[in-house]
């Protein structure tokens, strides 16, 4: 059965500089091994949520437990070992002067022994297919490659959860696909839990479950199919519906007997070219 890994109970949070709550009374559970997408437009509180999960901020009210341990000042370092984060800007999270130094940075921080470290660095880079760039300097890498190095840095620490905080939003389509493909493979190999925070519903469509955030509150929760039923409601929240979903909706309005919303182009094409023969 599904085992809860992260639990949020009535979490509220507020930055000192702002008057309003960034998060208000948010509760949900993240299960082991799932791919959870958190969507919402700018300022919906989705990035704040990521920072709370990693103990970069602490909730004003309510509490968060990760793997049964409640998140607090005292436990934050333990929790950070379990949760790896990949941020938005590929440049601003690259600490090392070369690829291998950057992957090693997290390991150094956690006091991993050197022999172990060398092994983990090469293993992780192998996993993200960046092994041949060991001594490369960051400015010679593409955005997608830098993000893959960041992922290598995360998995070198063997976390249970990987949080992608808008990690693909600054990449070109190819870089985006590279990164997502890498995460998909890792999720399978290590049975990791993936939390992807994004405003790209196309990316979210491939998740197991979607949380929709709006104005600091949890607006809706469900499978991609359920979420995309919301149609116009999503548009009103400032989110852009994926093209196949839009198209299938329009086709249905034109009277085509499509049975459901299609989340991917392939599904829609498959349905369309076989629909005539069924009649």
């Amino acid at each position: 059965m599904k085992e809860p890994l992260v639990e949020l109970k009535n979490v509220s949070f507020k930055y000192d500089t702002e008057a309003g709550f960034a998060l208000r009374n948010v509760s949900f559970t993240i299960f082991m091994g799932e791919w959870l997408a958190i969507v919402g437009h700018n300022g919906s509180g989705k990035s704040t949520l990521a920072k709370l999960l990693n103990g970069l901020h602490f909730p004003l009210e309510g509490n968060i437990t990760v793997g049964g341990i409640q998140l607090a000042e005292a436990t934050v370092w333990e929790t950070r070992k379990k949760i790896g984060m990949v941020f938005q800007n590929p440049d601003n999270q690259f600490v090392g002067t070369t690829v291998q130094d950057d992957v090693a940075f997290g390991l150094e921080n956690h006091g991993i022994e050197r022999n172990d470290m060398v092994q983990r660095v090469s293993q992780s880079l192998e996993k993200v297919k960046m092994a041949q760039f060991l001594d490369q300097e960051p400015h010679h890498l593409s955005g997608g490659q830098k993000q893959r190095v960041a992922i290598a840095g995360v998995i070198a620490l063997r976390p249970d959860i990987i949080i992608l905080d808008e990690s693909t939003s600054m990449l070109d389509p190819r870089g985006r696909e590279e990164v997502l493909e890498t995460v998909r493979e890792l999720k399978q190999d290590y049975n990791m839990t993936v939390i992807s925070i994004t405003h790209d519903l196309e990316e979210a469509a491939k998740a197991d479950r979607i949380l929709v955030m709006n104005k600091g509150q949890l607006y809706r929760e469900g499978t991609p199919e359920e979420i995309f039923q919301m149609d116009d409601e999503l548009v009103k929240l400032g989110l852009d519906i994926p093209f196949p979903v839009k198209l299938s909706k329009m086709l249905r309005e034109k009277g085509l007997p499509l049975s459901r919303h299609y989340l991917s182009e392939e599904e829609l094409v498959e349905e369309l070219w076989t629909s005539h023969s069924k009649m």
Partner: protein, 265 residues
């Protein structure tokens, strides 16, 4: 272009000097700077020169790289030479032409001091030409480690240095981008009187500063998320290894020092 100035200095090659521990290279240079002042006659300066060229030969760095590094300071060396040549008025007159008088002592001092200068520059060039900036940082961190005892933040200093080194190319690219963006908006960086050109730098600097601060903040968050909490309990990925060649090189320098002590007048 700027990138070449800072990073293009390192010339990769496989030589004894390249493979030396950065710590021993740093110690060597430091000691060399001290013992250069021991030389005070033809013989001792001769030994220093031979030693320096021996090191250049060992480093296998093509001479034209050393020359390009020297070019900007060569003028200063020549200036020093002339300064002593014309202004020192001791010893016998060896040359006189109109108001120009050159004394023996002036020639001696001029040649020796500019040679001293020249050798110092050569030796430090060898250091930067055979050692990557990050190796120098590692070497410094290790050498300064005892200062930790008096609460001097050695680890933080080394981290600052390595992060700066890592971000130089990134900020160069950014500067280039901003420059193009501002040129497209009509800022003229290349012509006009100096006053206007200095003013034109403002629309370049302000966006650069703003974005650098943003970068710094994001980097700090990312570092914290990756478990960074200061130097304590941290292990190191890069390792320095002191070998026989390092001890050997220092022994050679010690021998040179001894020779200088014996032969100086």
């Amino acid at each position: 272009m700027m990138e070449k100035m800072i990073f293009g200095r390192y010339v990769p090659a496989d030589s004894v000097i390249h493979r030396m521990d950065p710590r021993s290279k740093l110690i060597l240079i430091f000691l060399f700077v001290c013992i250069v002042f021991l030389a005070n006659n033809l013989l001792t300066y001769g030994f220093l020169t031979v030693y320096t060229f021996f090191m250049i030969a060992l480093s296998k760095v093509p001479f034209r790289f050393i020359y390009t590094g020297l070019k900007p300071v060569l003028l200063l060396v020549i200036f020093t030479l002339f300064l002593h040549l014309f202004l020192t008025k001791e010893g016998e007159v060896i040359f006189q032409f109109g108001w120009l008088t050159i004394y023996e002592e002036g020639l001696r001092q001029g040649v020796f001091i500019s040679l001293r200068f020249f050798l110092l520059i050569l030796m430090t060039s060898i250091l930067t030409l055979t050692t990557t900036p990050i190796e120098i940082t590692d070497g410094l961190e290790s050498l300064l480690a005892p200062l930790n005892k008096i609460k001097f933040p050695v680890h933080e200093l080394a981290l600052m240095m390595s992060i700066s080194l890592r971000f130089i190319p990134t900020l160069m690219q950014e500067t280039d981008k901003i420059m193009k963006a501002q040129t497209a908006r009509g800022v003229d960086f290349a012509s006009g009187p100096i006053k206007d050109r200095v003013k034109a730098i403002i629309p370049l600097l302000i966006p650069l500063f703003v974005s650098s601060f943003k970068r710094a903040e994001e980097l700090a968050v990312a570092m914290e998320a990756r478990g960074y909490r200061g130097g304590e309990g941290r292990t190191k990925y890069r390792q320095l290894s002191w070998g026989l060649k390092d001890t050997g090189m220092l022994a050679l320098l010690a021998a040179l020092t001894l020779v200088l002590f014996l032969l100086r007048t």
